[in-house]
Symmetry: C2
Subunit: 331 residues, 2 copies
DNA sequence: CGGCGTGCTGAAATCGCATTCATCGCGGAC
DNA sequence: GTCCGCGATGAATGCGATTTCAGCACGCCG
């Protein structure tokens, strides 16, 4: 069987209590004894039993990460970073795929989260009410890529992202820019739309933003949006995410429209795939790894303020080959 | 605090022993009492403490999945399926990213795997010796996408995959086909190379297979291989995986070579990205989801044979737009 | 010299649950 | 009528660690 703390204690000629202290509260035990115990433990290959420790301390050493779709490059990037940071902090990560289902999402949080030290809830699809419900558990909960009243969160600066993209297009000479939106109800899509209105139009003379409506945030959604963009006479299209931008690229090519010569396309997220296509995608790069790391840090030791922490990470436009001045520049 | 089994027992007016049995060994307790306990448990929102249960049963309800890179679409697809199947079987999944590092891989297996009910080791980078070492733990271990002596495994039929691809190219009229290999030491790459030699050449008259050597299994590796393929005068290139195929596509386009008109390209894996590019990639589709599901099933209840189980899953060529007859057909 | 704080140590309790063992009541067999 | 067996139940034990609590020796102060 596995070697237990009692074995170590016996081999070292001390009581289990002392052995325990030597390993997890070193300054409570006399130096030479402490070193003896540690050496014996190492030699015996002692490995503390997580379950036993959890039972008494109440901490499992597990974090729970819930994402809508593990296969989506956005979430796998976040998951990778979360996993790495958690490991550095001595935590394992239990990851759960909610399959884009709000109900399953809620169940996963309550079931899996119940016996974890904290829950990272990524882009939750569930309603604010359900969110409040699952957050009622005493387990620490942190929202990633979404904000909600009373809950700590880490997001990216969506508004600034679209602004950077639109400024870039305007600077290139585009005057009629289309936005291919994400799914209805998406929190991040709502934020991005906010960036399109307001003072932006005032700052950019002659700019005309046309809304292409809501689409599934996948390749097919981009395909559908492409036709709308052409019909609207836009010379540039900003997509809700990179997958949609890829769909735009594909459909435009099929219809004989050259990118970027005839129409410019901008994505969002800077998923790895953005560099794998031709033309390489100009896109708003979200700091996905940093998002994951920050989330873990914030969950593991939250700031000691009374209001829940809200962090927004900066984004940065990455200009590649899918944007260029329009064929017939305005002015 | 959380509601414990004692609370349920007290509320139901029975002993903790009976309460325990009513929930986890229902036929040992009288029907009306059993239903009473279960109802009370439900009303109180009782949720068994995993740590306490693990401490006594030795089973944690956790599976451990170790992959080289979570961001690689191959592994995120497997991870998604593993997670889904494990949940259906009442298990949570602890996922660990080994960052392509054999040492870290070994450490993760021993550390994380020690307190899991089993370990799924995906495409392990570590040496056969280290593999045997970590497998020496009594925890069930199952290899995914690699075989090793004495260990159970689930793989895809790599040899048949390249054979299907080559037959396809030969049928189109290609006679000079290049193989852009994966990293040296890759188990799956070795299997794929096996498919290229042997009786295949005998069956396909006039076929000439040229080996482009080893490459990093990423976009850049494909770029490098593209120039080699052109220099070798191949009219078709089979890539070790889809990422490399995308690199080939990109480089060929850059050099003014049209795909599939001038050169055909075939990928491997059928990663989601294969359909997102232009031309859509002809590729050998590996049943990634099935791979993950089978792995979980085999780990959770292994066949009662003495030899460790070895399963090979069939693959299927998916013909898309990146392959066509060569410009100047042989014969 | 007595008393008290201090620094270490060990015995024992505890966490929540599963499980063994003993008990009890009851019906059927002899 | 007695005894055996069986089904149902509760008391008690233990899983492996942490953590109180008490005890012990020692040194210092009064």
């Amino acid at each position: 069987m596995a070697v237990t703390l009692r074995d170590v204690a016996r081999a070292a000629g001390v009581s289990p209590a002392t052995a325990s202290r030597a390993l997890s509260a070193p300054d409570l035990v006399a130096p030479e004894r402490r070193e003896l115990v540690r050496r014996v433990a190492r030699e015996l290959g002692y490995r503390p039993n997580r379950a036993a420790r959890e039972l008494i301390t109440g901490r499992s050493g597990h974090l729970c990460l819930v994402v809508p779709d593990l296969e989506n490059p956005f979430f796998s990037a976040v998951a990778k970073a979360v996993q790495a940071r958690a490991r550095a902090a001595g935590h394992a990560v239990v990851v759960a795929d909610a399959e884009e289902d709000p109900l399953l999402e809620a169940e996963l949080v309550t079931h899996l989260g119940a016996q974890a030290d904290g829950v990272l809830l990524c882009s939750p699809r569930m309603s604010p009410d359900d969110l409040a419900e699952v957050a009622a558990d005493d387990r620490p909960l942190l929202l990633v890529n979404r904000e909600a009243a009373g809950l700590p969160s880490v997001v990216i600066d969506n508004r600034d992202g679209v602004r950077q993209a639109v400024r870039h297009l305007h600077a290139l000479g585009h005057r009629r820019v289309a936005y291919a939106g994400g799914p209805p109800g998406s929190w991040s899509d709502a934020r991005r739309r906010e960036g399109l209105v307001g003072d932006l139009a005032a700052q950019l003379p002659g700019l005309d933003v046309v809304d292409l409506g809501a689409h599934a945030p996948v390749f097919a959604g981009g395909v559908a949006a492409a036709d709308l963009a052409l019909a609207a006479g836009a010379t540039a299209v900003l997509a809700h995410n990179d997958l949609m931008a890829l769909g735009l690229l594909d459909r435009l090519r099929t219809r004989g429209v050259r990118v970027p010569d005839d129409v410019s396309v901008v994505g969002f997220d800077d998923a790895p795939v953005a560099t794998l296509v031709t033309p390489a995608l100009t896109t708003v790069a979200a700091p996905l790894a940093r998002l994951g790391r920050t989330a873990v840090d914030l969950l593991l030791d939250p700031p000691r303020t009374d209001a829940p922490a809200r962090v927004a990470l900066p984004v940065e436009l990455v200009v590649r080959a899918s944007t260029a001045p329009p064929a017939a520049p305005a002015t």
